[in-house]
Symmetry: C2
Subunit: 213 residues, 2 copies
DNA sequence: CGTTCCTTGTGAAAACGTTCACCTGCGGCT
DNA sequence: AGCCGCAGGTGAACGTTTTCACAAGGAACG
């Protein structure tokens, strides 16, 4: 089966977001140029990305907003709902639970687990926090979110995999070892800070260029 | 001035983290192979990455852990402290404030801003939440974190830039327009979910090679 | 001192991703 | 209808990143 680059998939998400906006504004058609403009992408890149998956546009006209939106939904797997388990009901976990954006895109957090006696049993955003030992029994879950301290992350990942999860969103700053067929995306905020720190260190002392937009 | 790829910088962060671990374990030397092993990188990649910045190893021996650690600290700009302003004292903002990891790496959140009357004046993690209108007056800040709703993100970015910030960590799912010389890193969790959703949709049924990243 | 076993640093090659350039198809206009 | 301008699709060119392969440096040891 063909593989698609991670960057292409990321950009599909961008396009999808732009399409949602444009759709809300009532636009019927959109050109690759306009689709590119809102984010920082060239029109050729847009066309190339979309061409990997099919021919969705019409020459001379551009893309039908509603149609392309539907197509990208299907490509990204957003034409269904996903059952997500959250492990670690701490600061990050609570913030994620409170966020409505995930549900809006089809990601339903249906179970929350923690190991701390203080948290287990409490209700958080309409979900009762369960003990982590109950994870294996929690039915049909497709994705897991790891929001535990780094030392527990690998163990939790193993449990999630054992429970049948094939996609993990990991907030612990650590590479997780998972079997083939399980996808992991790690969000590492410290690394983002370090990347900024590097960028700022590099430009230090450089002549201040005018703010050319 | 020479430019370095974003991926190289990311990996430097990885190496740095491994070095911290290995240092704590008391190891004196480490080979590129061992340095690579803990994350999912080849030893050639490690050597290539490091070679962009200098010759830090010794043939036949590997790298001195303490020395390489110091060098990478300097390269990433972690041999100093950074003053960070946080804008948006909501769910994500509160979670970030509570996190000690940033301070440990030299990132000090020294001011918190919000626009809501409910939040302004409250104390959060030893910092008094200030009204956003006070942002321009808040001394010497190098980085900003945007944890506001998406509709406020661009405006806040403009204010941060006006206040002299040259690095922005953005949690709002939106591309920010900033002048040249200002670095932005956007953490978009919905996009990560969508990336997982895509990966799972692709591998549906058939088991294929796609281990964790 | 020579041999052996490591491991780095780095050109060169390969793989990968992005941009270019152009052909084709479509609607509108005269 | 015929022409024009617009815009998608796509092979080829280009640039960047990763991998390969190996020469050279270094330590240990008899
Ligand atoms: N809070 C942040 O802003 C932030 C920033 C960057 C990275 N992170 C990372 O995110 C993760 C979570 O951070 P946080 O601030 O929410 O931490 P936290 O301490 O607030 O929450 C962690 C939760 O995980 C629970 N837990 C511990 N072991 C567990 C186990 N084995 N099974 C189930 N639950 C378990 C704890 O009881 C706690 O409720 C950490 O790995 C941290 O490094 C957090
Ligand atoms: N919470 C999550 O898990 C999560 C996940 C993904 C993305 N995000 C994004 O992160 C951002 C923050 O999310 P949140 O859940 O923390 O939201 P939140 O509503 O809890 O907090 C937002 C805060 O920003 C403040 N604010 C609004 N306008 C402001 C302005 N102009 N200046 C200063 N402060 C202002 C509000 O008063 C509020 O306190 C949003 O853009 C959201 O899309 C959050």
């Amino acid at each position: 089966m063909k593989r698609f680059s991670e960057s292409t998939v990321r950009r599909l998400s961008h396009y999808y977001r732009v399409l949602e906006e444009v759709h809300a504004e009532g636009q019927r058609m959109i050109s690759s140029h306009l689709l590119a403009e809102r984010e920082d992408i060239t029109s050729a890149q847009v066309r190339k990305d979309l061409s990997y998956f099919g021919s969705f546009g019409r020459r001379g006209l551009g893309y039908n907003v509603e149609h392309l939106r539907t197509e990208i939904r299907a490509i990204l797997g957003l034409d269904r709902r996903w059952r997500v388990a959250l492990v670690g009901a701490g600061h990050i976990g609570a913030a994620l639970l409170a966020y409505r954006g995930f549900r809006d895109q089809g990601f339903d957090v249906v179970a929350v687990f923690d190991s701390s006696a203080e948290r287990v049993g409490k209700t958080l955003d309409e979900l009762v926090v369960q003990d982590i030992s109950k994870l294996p029994e929690c039915g049909d879950i497709e994705m897991g979110v790891i929001a535990t301290p780094v030392r527990a992350a690998q163990e939790v990942a193993d449990m999630l995999v054992a429970a049948g999860v094939r996609g993990i969103l990991n907030f612990a700053p650590r590479k997780l070892r998972v079997p083939e067929g399980v996808a992991v995306r790690t969000v590492d905020m410290t690394m983002e800070f370090e990347s900024l720190s590097f960028a700022l260190s590099q430009t230090r002392g450089k002549s201040r260029r005018r703010a050319g937009e």
